[in-house]
Assembly symmetry: C2
Homo-oligomer: 271 residues x 2
């Protein structure tokens, strides 16, 4: 099944636009998990407690690569666990990759063929030929950075070109690419609701992955007001540390569930 | 020793501005190497045949990630081999990473603390706070994409902002960041010598990593003419497939040496 269909189905089933980040950090995860494979054990507990509340899980590759080969093993195990226990939930590899074409082919091979993820985040700076090897996986979702949630996003993304900032030019290109490949999404940070509004005008139907709610201070209400599509969907609202680190005690998974449920329900109130 | 000093020393010792890419591909490497760890065996043969001709080795992470955990193991082993057999040769992780600050910290941890590389390539699209966690490793080289060598580089990098293309704005920011951190370099493709000339004006002393010679058709003569600094240095001229795949027979390492030596000498003729 292609990513978009899988996503629409789980949004309906779980009545949720919520993405949970699987970004385990040994310095933060509860002490009692510091056993053989703490990253996996932590993720598994979070997944077991939240699988009926999410529309995607989004592991960020950096959090695994930081621990070298052992970390990558935990990532692989986590993905395999989701695919076997909850095959209906799409997995986004938040990898922010891109390189010249023949190299991007290798990255695409890694996230899709080796890890078996359903979608990936990519960086647009190198242009179309750096993203095309991903786009050619027609059943996968290709999520292109447009306006990111971090404070320095403005360094380049806001530079004005013919009366429009760079991120608007990126959004227009993504819409153009999507006409050919039909599998594009964009990353638009919740920390910039006005920009989200502009980007929604350019891509009225496209799904956006929206990080920045929670610890980064994004505005949920405005995000939904400006970002929802006409059919009250089109957003994947992402939260990571506010959910997975809601508690560092033995009850962390239960607390994660409570925070996740509250956020899912808060989102649904505005839909 | 910091990256810049290590680089200057090996340039003098090997009389070379040549970077060789360690980008092994099981579909291309000679059949007789398809044994237990073909990626490592291939790299080791290339290294053993060329270590006195290069100023850096540059493994591209994508070529290892494509093979999953086994590939990452080969990368780790390759880096360890260079560090033990030829500790004087700097290793650039061509990873093109960048994410929001707390995530970039994890990537920096991976390339510098876990893999022990001397330098890394990063993507500027997310702005300073996405690059700062790398810059804070003061002894490492942080190589920021400016004007890349691929045909689609023009999609965004050439967009005009106040009469200057985006890549010029990136170059200016990098020069600004370098004033604080003193460890910045830039990627400038050999396929765009005129752009290289402009960027050299903005950063007269900075080292540039220059891919695109060889299979991508970059112009070596113009690259050197426009790119060398006043002291006839400042460029890391990168070549990968033209050297490492010079032959697919048993003599591949010897042939790689011949091509590498010819390119090193051709570069030196113009210095």
């Amino acid at each position: 099944m292609n990513f978009q269909k899988k996503l629409d189905k789980i949004i309906a089933k779980n009545n949720s636009l919520l993405s949970i980040g699987l970004d385990p950090d040994k310095n933060i995860i509860p002490n009692h998990l510091l056993s053989i494979d703490p990253l996996f054990e932590f993720n598994k507990a979070i997944i077991d407690a939240t699988f009926d509340l999410v529309c995607v899980y989004k592991p960020n590759t950096a959090f695994y690569e930081a621990y070298g080969i052992k970390g990558i093993e935990s990532l692989k195990k986590t993905i395999e666990y989701i695919k076997s226990a909850h095959p209906e939930i799409p997995i986004i590899a938040d990898a922010k990759r891109a390189d010249i074409g023949k190299t991007s082919e290798k990255y695409a091979k890694s996230v899709f063929d080796y890890f078996g993820c359903d979608a990936v985040t990519v960086n647009p700076y190198l242009g179309l030929d750096s993203i095309e090897p991903f786009l050619k996986y027609k059943d996968k979702g290709i999520i292109i950075l447009c306006r990111t949630s971090n404070p320095s996003a403005s360094d380049f993304q806001d530079l004005m070109i013919d009366n429009n900032p760079l991120y608007i030019h990126v959004a227009r290109k993504v819409v153009e690419w999507d006409k050919k490949y039909h599998n594009c999404l964009m990353v638009v940070g919740a920390t910039w609701p006005e920009q989200l509004k502009e980007i929604r005008k350019i891509a009225p139907e496209m799904f956006f992955l929206v990080p920045g709610i929670g610890s980064q201070g994004g505005d949920l209400k405005k995000t939904l007001q400006f970002g929802l599509t006409k059919n009250r969907s089109g957003l994947i609202i992402h939260s990571s540390s506010a959910i997975i680190y809601a508690s560092d005690e033995k009850d962390f998974a239960q607390k994660a569930r409570e925070v996740a449920k509250a956020l899912r329900d808060e989102i649904n109130k505005e839909r």
